[in-house]
Structure formats: structure tokens, C-alpha cells
């Protein structure tokens, strides 16, 4: 008996789950984000100060890519878990001898893959419309991985905590979306009044997007090393919380 295959199977199943409905889970978010790009770049060009010479559309793309990564990573684990809980088939992953580490890793990794897949899709399609630079590609990948892992973990927490679909939706609408939209996806925080600028620095998502953008333009508000450290610290905290919830069987094992 190969103990690793428990984790491997759950990971494979979670990947297959979103891949089977790729239209909904990958193609649709790519299209939606493309619409944001086309509309916002058209409307905002020349009106919002961003990074000096950088055209608004080019500035916008990394923000949109990251937004797609974060939202889809969150959606993957949260929707999978709440669906399983509501329909009852969660018991099939609770009955086997899977440890909470395996459970955690499978769901989060699948979310990372989904987040990266959608992000890559958005990026590729955007390249057809906007010229981009890739100054520090390794930072791009690092922040994309960190971001999708964090949101995959948050999605797991949301899925564990929620009893109904609309509680997951509330988590998404009242927590994830505001944090995402107010993190500098559509604007540089320099365009905000001082108070809001400072407040933005308390938003963990800001660091992810700022660092991610650094990978493209070589320019950022915060030192990318610091941003990555903040992101990893967040990941550590959320991971610890999730593992504690899983170990206790909170809302999964009564």
C-alpha cells in the first residue's frame, strides 16, 4: 500500500473536478477578466496616474492576472468543499485514512493549479492586446504561487466553516473581493489620499499584487523581498489555522 497515493488521489480528483468543467472554471474567468481589461483600459487610459511611462493598460494586466489567480484559487477549494458538504459526499474523503496534512495539501495544491491555469490564460490572452515587459519573471512566478496558495487555504477555511452555499458567497463577496479590489489592481495606491494609502498597507493582498507587478515592470511601492515575506507569513498563519481546524475536525467530524 502506497501511503502517498491517498494524497495523490485526492489531488488528482480535485484537479479533475475543475478540469471536467473547464469552460466554467477556466475559460469563463479568462473571458471575464479580458472584459475588465478592455473596458477599463479604454476608459482609464490617460486618466489615472500609474507608473510614469507605463501605459494604463499595461499597468492593469498584472493586477487583473493576479486578481484572477486569487479569486479562482479561492473558488476552487471553497466551492469543492461546500458542495461536498451539502450533497453529503464529503464522507468519502472523511472515511479513508487520510491525515489532515494530506487533506490540506491536496485541496490547496489543486487550488494553486487552478489559480495558475486561469492566471496563465488571462496573461496569454492579454498579450494579444497589450505589450508587456517581463523584467523579473521569477518574482512573477513566486508571487503567483504564494497568492494562489494563500487563497486556496482561505478557500479551505471558508469551505470548512460554511454550512450553506451563501455563506461561502458571503465570504467571497464581503472579504475576498473587497480586499482584492482595494489592493491596487485597478490603480496605483499613490493616487489615493494619504489615509487610504496607509490603510492599504494593512491589506495582505496589496503586497501580493505589488510584488507581482514588480516582476513585470521592475518598479514597486514596496521592496519585493518584503512583500514576499509578508505573503509567506500570511500563508504560514492561514496554514496553521487550517491544520488546527482539520485536526480538531471542526465542522467536519462531529
Amino acid at each position: 500500500m502506497n501511503p502517498l497515493s491517498g494524497f495523490g488521489t485526492l489531488l488528482y480528483k480535485e484537479l479533475l473536478r475543475f478540469w471536467k468543467v473547464a469552460f466554467q472554471t477556466v475559460a469563463a474567468p479568462v473571458l471575464t477578466t479580458l472584459l475588465y481589461l478592455l473596458i477599463f483600459s479604454h476608459v482609464m487610459q490617460g486618466r489615472a496616474p500609474v507608473y510614469g511611462e507605463v501605459p494604463y493598460a499595461a499597468f492593469l494586466v498584472p493586477g487583473l492576472v493576479m486578481m484572477a489567480v486569487l479569486q479562482n484559487a479561492f473558488a476552487n477549494s471553497s466551492s469543492s468543499l461546500i458542495q461536498s458538504k451539502v450533497t453529503g459526499n464529503i464522507i468519502f474523503v472523511l472515511l479513508p485514512p487520510l491525515s489532515h496534512w494530506e487533506f490540506f495539501a491536496a485541496y490547496v495544491l489543486a487550488s494553486v493549479v487552478r489559480g495558475m491555469a486561469v492566471g496563465a490564460g488571462v496573461l496569454l490572452v492579454s498579450l494579444a492586446f497589450v505589450g508587456l515587459s517581463f523584467e523579473h519573471p521569477l518574482w512573477i512566478i513566486a508571487f503567483a504561487l504564494a497568492g494562489s496558495a494563500i487563497l486556496g487555504t482561505l478557500g479551505l477555511i471558508a469551505g470548512i466553516w460554511a454550512d450553506k452555499f451563501d455563506q461561502v458567497a458571503a465570504f467571497q463577496s464581503f472579504l475576498i473581493m473587497p480586499l482584492t479590489f482595494l489592493s491596487g489592481v485597478f490603480y496605483s495606491i499613490h493616487s489615493l489620499p494619504a489615509f487610504w494609502q496607509d490603510l492599504s498597507r494593512f491589506n495582505p493582498f496589496f503586497y501580493m499584487i505589488d510584488g507581482f507587478r514588480y516582476g513585470f515592470f521592475g518598479v514597486s511601492d514596496i521592496d519585493p523581498a518584503l512583500s514576499l515575506a509578508v505573503a509567506l507569513a500570511n500563508l504560514l498563519v492561514f496554514t496553521a489555522v487550517t491544520l488546527a481546524l482539520l485536526r480538531r475536525g471542526y465542522k467536519l467530524r462531529f
Binding site: M1, G6, T9, Y12, L94, R253
Partner: protein, 301 residues
């Protein structure tokens, strides 16, 4: 030999409801054990705690000697559970479902066994079908297959024939009996007392979280130590002296309680003296249903 299942002083509370109040049960390896009780008695709670789907507040539960909390890997590997509800994952086909289940238990290449199980449960034709497209009976069979992919020595079935047609019920009974003959320990919960009587060698009866009876099936039945006489008479009413023996009457047929075969003669004599004719007569052996009802009534909590 290590018991298949050991449940010691298990208590479980859900909010304000005390679901289990000090349950003590032991099931030997290779047994065919029945867990009976009215709705809300705690049967599913016991199963959930066994399977790790719930955690007892106190007490200890072991499967083949492995504690279900501290040694969950070994205990879960030894246990197969067929749940009561027809749950399934609508994204996958039958074969995918069984492959995943195998994989979760650490069995990478299990197709040969999966094929065999599907064959025994008459699912081969539906191997590629999406779970959503199956009838209730087929979904039930897939649930049984899912519980068997890792060849667990202990198998628990929670009301497996609820709402199932006669043919499938007979098929499942035969199949489960076969598993027991092969050495698997079977724990069955059911509301069909004829099923429990036919299949289980030993039975525990739960009421409101307590074990109110625990004995072999034959002992439980013989405990009642009464026979029943089904009688339809014409020409006169049933003599009042016999009224206290009546368990129930339906469409003119009375079911009378007898303490032994010897009483048969006197009952028939009383009927004759009342001037009635016997139109129909049947002598019934005691059954588990009567025992169950009596025990439940006596165990008023």
C-alpha cells in the same frame, strides 16, 4: 482473538441532546451483528463514531484493536461503511468513483478487484455511466462497492435495503451473506426486523442512546416464549375469555397469544364451546418484531 469492534462507555451529546449514554458493545470477528432501534436511538451515531465521522465525548472505540481516534489510519483501513443516504459525486462515473475510493485507501492499481466487485453487484454494464444517471438501486449498489474496494475485514451497513425493491434486497442479502461466509465481520442496522432475524446471529437493541437488549437472535426470540394462533371463525363471536390473548385483529382474523403448544387444545375447545366454526387457522412461531416491540415498550426511559 481481538474483537472486530469494541465500544466501551461511549457518551455523545449533540447540543442539548444526549445521543449516546454509556454504550458498551463488542462484536467478535466474523460475526453477523445487528444493531436495531427506533429512529433517534443512536444507531447512526454509533456508526459515525466507529468510522471517524463523529467523535465520542468520552469512552473508547476500537476496530480490530485500533483506537478510532489515535490510530485512525489502521482503524479506518479495517472498516468499510455503506452509508444510509444515497450520496454520490455527480462529476464522476462509477469506475472513476471506485478508483478514487481505492486510491484514498492507498490502493493505486485496484482495477482487477474493482471489476470483480462490480461483477458481483451487477454494475459492470454501468461502469462508465455518470453517477447522476443511475437509478436509486444502482446508486445503492455503488455505495456497497465503494465500501469494499479496500477489502475491509469489518463492514458496516446502515439500512442498506431501505426503499429497495424486493429483487435487489434479496440480491444484497445474498451478497452480504457471502461476504460473511468469506470471513468479513458484518454489522447491519435496519428497520426491517425480518431482515435482522434472517441475517444476524446476534443483535443489540438501542433505545434513546442506551443498549436495552444484547443477545443472540435465537435467545431473543425464545425469550418471548410464546406462539401465535391466527384464527378466523364464523358463526359466533370470539369468546370473551380469549380476548386477553388477542395481540391484534384484522378483517375478522384474530392473532392469539399462546404460552405453549399445550394451550392450543384448550383455546380451540373454548372456540367450539362458543358455537363458532374455524374457517382458517395458522400457527405462527414467535418473531423478532414482537420481541422488539415488547423490549422497546418495557424499556421506557
Amino acid at each position: 482473538m481481538i474483537p472486530a469492534i469494541q465500544i466501551q462507555q461511549v457518551h455523545k451529546r449533540f447540543g442539548s441532546v444526549q445521543a449516546l449514554c454509556g454504550i458498551d458493545l463488542e462484536v467478535a470477528q466474523g460475526e453477523f451483528f445487528g444493531l436495531l432501534g427506533p429512529n433517534g436511538a443512536g444507531k447512526t451515531t454509533v456508526i459515525n463514531i466507529l468510522a471517524g465521522l463523529a467523535r465520542a465525548d468520552s469512552g473508547s472505540v476500537r476496530v480490530l484493536g485500533h483506537d478510532v481516534v489515535t490510530q485512525y489510519r489502521e482503524s479506518r483501513r479495517a472498516l468499510g461503511v455503506v452509508p444510509q443516504e444515497l450520496v454520490f459525486d455527480p462529476f464522476f462515473s462509477v469506475r472513476e468513483t471506485l478508483r478514487f475510493q481505492s486510491g484514498y485507501f492507498g490502493l493505486g492499481r485496484n482495477d482487477a478487484w474493482i471489476d470483480e466487485v462490480m461483477h458481483h453487484l451487477d454494475l459492470t454494464g454501468k461502469a462508465g455511466a455518470n453517477m447522476r444517471s443511475l437509478s436509486g438501486g444502482m446508486k445503492r449498489r455503488v455505495l456497497v462497492a465503494q465500501a469494499l474496494v479496500h477489502k475491509p475485514p469489518v463492514i458496516v451497513l446502515d439500512e442498506p435495503t431501505a426503499g429497495v425493491d424486493v429483487e435487489l434486497r434479496q440480491g444484497l442479502w445474498e451478497f452480504v451473506r457471502g461476504l460473511n461466509r468469506d470471513g468479513h465481520t458484518i454489522v447491519l442496522t435496519t428497520h426491517y426486523l425480518e431482515e435482522a432475524e434472517a441475517m444476524c446471529a446476534r443483535i443489540a437493541m438501542l433505545k434513546q442512546g442506551r443498549v436495552v437488549a444484547l443477545d443472540t437472535t435465537s435467545n431473543l426470540i425464545n425469550r418471548r416464549d410464546s406462539l401465535y394462533l391466527k384464527l378466523r371463525i364464523g358463526g359466533a363471536a370470539l369468546p370473551p375469555a380469549l380476548a386477553e390473548r388477542v395481540r391484534d385483529s384484522a378483517e375478522g382474523t384474530h392473532t392469539l397469544r399462546l404460552r405453549s403448544h399445550a394451550e392450543l387444545e384448550s383455546v380451540l375447545a373454548q372456540v367450539r364451546e362458543a358455537g363458532a366454526q374455524i374457517e382458517e387457522l395458522e400457527l405462527l412461531q414467535p418473531d423478532l418484531e414482537d420481541v422488539f416491540v415488547q423490549i422497546m415498550r418495557d424499556a421506557k426511559g
